[in-house]
Symmetry: C2
Subunit: 412 residues, 2 copies
């Protein structure tokens, strides 16, 4: 691990919250930070100029999707993801494990449903890796620890993730134990593969390990100890429920955080559905988190606002289609609602994003109603700006040791 | 008509091409100019900042669509279209006639097809106007000369169009004669309605008349004389074939141009599918033209390039779905083609647009393949820039009296 990879700048006296700086060859990452997700080499609807304006500390890209299209070999020919997508800030890639194992979960769900799809019927886990069918063309692919690291090396991200098995929440202890043993073996193999070459075209790459263990306290604690003992540059906490079920997430953090080294960055994978979720993980000492929700709900017209209002059900697009879900915080509005038809105010009166500076709720309502593509970009810009701005506020509050004050102003 | 509405700046000695300036309260329009189409208060995929960067002389919006959603009354509450969409340059609105009568054409086609749609079965023309069903919700609407002008007044465009009947190409002389008589009566009524109030919230509005007459020389000539004799601020040439069939368009221009006053702006409605089409109408003394093709084909991956290559078939999205059509010029590429998969060059090596400055053909190819929305915006930016830049070159060439030289460099 590089000596200066992570510096802790300040610590809250109220809780485990802290600020820090992760140093990468594509720039410093101020923590705690929310990482927008750029699955297929674009944060959906945004280009690199939009990103530069929004100024995220780091963006995430998905190894699984990029492996399938356009492939890590093609991206390597372009000098890596930074050059391919014209983004010169820090990038983190996941290992692809979450998506591969999600196919496995989908498989079960699809076999129960009538929408069975011949393409998604193969996810075979063995002790060395996973063989799976592409959800796009049915072609056969295989990920192992070595290939997942090699794929991420070619993508050229600044921070890459160990190959792991993302087990379902409800895995029984026997299965969860098998999966965790694999994850720990793969962690070691990932580290070994990474250490053969920790740079990509002159840029350092840093490898994070991932704690798994489903919902079992003993496994989670064991995993925290095992992963923490290895020479990773950062420690991530993964699992199906992390981010999706914040009560479960909090419980897992209570188990594992005491066992994780303080001097490495802490990353909860998949957290960031609502502003409240950000407070929850930061309070528990987490430095980084990513979530597709802010951009996904944006494209459905659910927009963050600092105005306090009662929560409501919103429709979100999931892999299964449109689903009605209760949104977990009080700081959203659904721009599709008729009440915004003639509303001349911006989405959020206190917001300084491009969308709020230039367009009314009524204009956005109209764009959503007539399904103009511009709607989705303007909404995405707003939701990403909102999350990044909240993180900037949070970092200042931690440095000034008034984290709970800021949290209270959002939760009361 | 305002004394200084249109100034002719220079005339070609080689042909009827000329440059000029149309003065509006939202800025000067340098002619000849291509007008990007912003049907529903956005040039599809672009926001007003994108437009400011592209810097079109004037954009077009569609009265029919805006009347249905969000309605002229709502837009008026926002102080007009300029404020609603945050675009402070000149805007032209059409009368809605083309879309209403297109529904009539669709009706015939749909009755022949199996996709019959209960919503699109009413377009009833009488001597005073047209009653039609919304294609969205089946609600009944009526346009007359007076209501079309009133609707456009509320939208607040700088240039508005007389209410006309857009007759099918193959209308027989009896029907075409009836339709033309209506168009001429409606032209007079439009002018009368307009003259009651030629300003909108302090901004001048200018009214153009439209020459119709289908494919009949005698009717076209009569229409040119009748419309030219009225006190319109500009003269448009409409019809189903204008723009879609350039041979027919050229023939119509040969008939009518000698009969139109030189000192008014000349506008061919629906022209601009290919760079060649622009040369054709400008050569014949046309000052303004609009077409959805550059933005529509962009969203399908057909991109203009100055590189000379053989024409090919491209798929374009029409109201009927995807259609394979031969593209009429040699200056396009289909970014979906496998040959661009690893191509590091920009779409057009000579282009200075945002897309060409920042992204490779390979990146665009990838975005189209994975259907990322960003693809459609970047492609639109390029195609609109390309057409606007060609018009800038054309204006310089006319001023320097070397229009044929420029045309030859594009056609040989």
């Amino acid at each position: 691990m590089s000596m200066n990879f992570f510096d802790i700048i300040s610590k809250s006296t109220e809780c485990a919250a802290r600020t820090g700086v992760i140093h990468t060859d594509h720039g410093d990452i101020e923590t705690p930070c929310f990482m927008p997700v750029g699955t297929q080499a674009t944060v959906k609807t945004l280009d690199s100029e939009d990103l530069k304006t929004l100024d995220p500390e780091v963006i995430l890209a998905n190894t699984y999707h990029l492996h399938l299209r356009p492939s890590e070999d093609l991206i390597e020919k372009f000098g890596g993801l930074h050059k391919f997508m014209n983004w010169d800030g820090p990038i983190l890639t996941d290992s692809g494990g979450f998506q591969v194992f999600s196919l496995g979960l989908q498989k079960t769900k699809k076999q129960e449903s009538k929408k069975a799809n011949a393409h998604s019927t193969l996810v075979e886990i063995d002790d060395n890796g996973v063989t799976f069918r592409s959800h796009i063309d049915g072609s056969i692919h295989r990920f192992t620890a070595e290939s997942a690291i090699e794929t991420q090396r070619k993508l050229g991200a600044d921070i890459i993730m160990a190959w792991d098995e993302c087990t379902p929440d409800d895995a029984d202890e026997v299965y969860a134990r098998q999966a965790l043993d694999r994850t720990h073996r793969w962690a070691k193999e990932s580290l070994h593969a990474h250490q053969k070459n920790t740079t990509y075209q002159g840029y350092n790459q840093y490898l994070f390990g991932i704690i798994q263990g489903a919902g079992h306290r003993d496994l989670r604690e064991e995993s925290a100890r095992v992963i923490s003992a290895m020479d990773f540059d950062g420690i991530a906490i993964g699992g199906e429920s992390v981010g999706y079920n914040m009560n479960a997430t909090k419980e897992i953090l209570e188990w594992v955080m005491p066992l994780i080294p303080e001097d490495k960055p802490h990353y909860t994978m998949g957290v960031g559905y609502s502003p409240m979720d950000l407070f929850t993980v930061v309070e528990n000492g987490i430095d980084m988190f990513d979530c597709v929700a802010p951009t996904r709900i944006a494209r459905n017209g659910t927009l963050y606002t600092s105005e306090k209002k009662v929560a409501e059900n919103v429709s979100i697009l999931t892999k299964e289609g449109l689903e009605e879900v209760p949104i977990q915080n009080k700081y959203t509005l659904n721009i599709n609602n008729a009440q915004f038809r003639e509303d001349k105010s911006p989405i959020d009166p206190t917001c300084a994003c491009h969308t709020c500076k230039n367009y009314s709720r009524a204009y956005l309502h109209h764009l959503f109603k007539v399904q103009e593509m511009l709607a989705y970009r303007l909404a995405t810009i707003h939701n990403v700006h909102f999350m990044l701005e909240l993180m900037r506020e949070m970092r200042v509050a931690i440095r000034e040791d008034r984290f709970f004050g800021l949290k209270q102003s959002w939760t009361q």
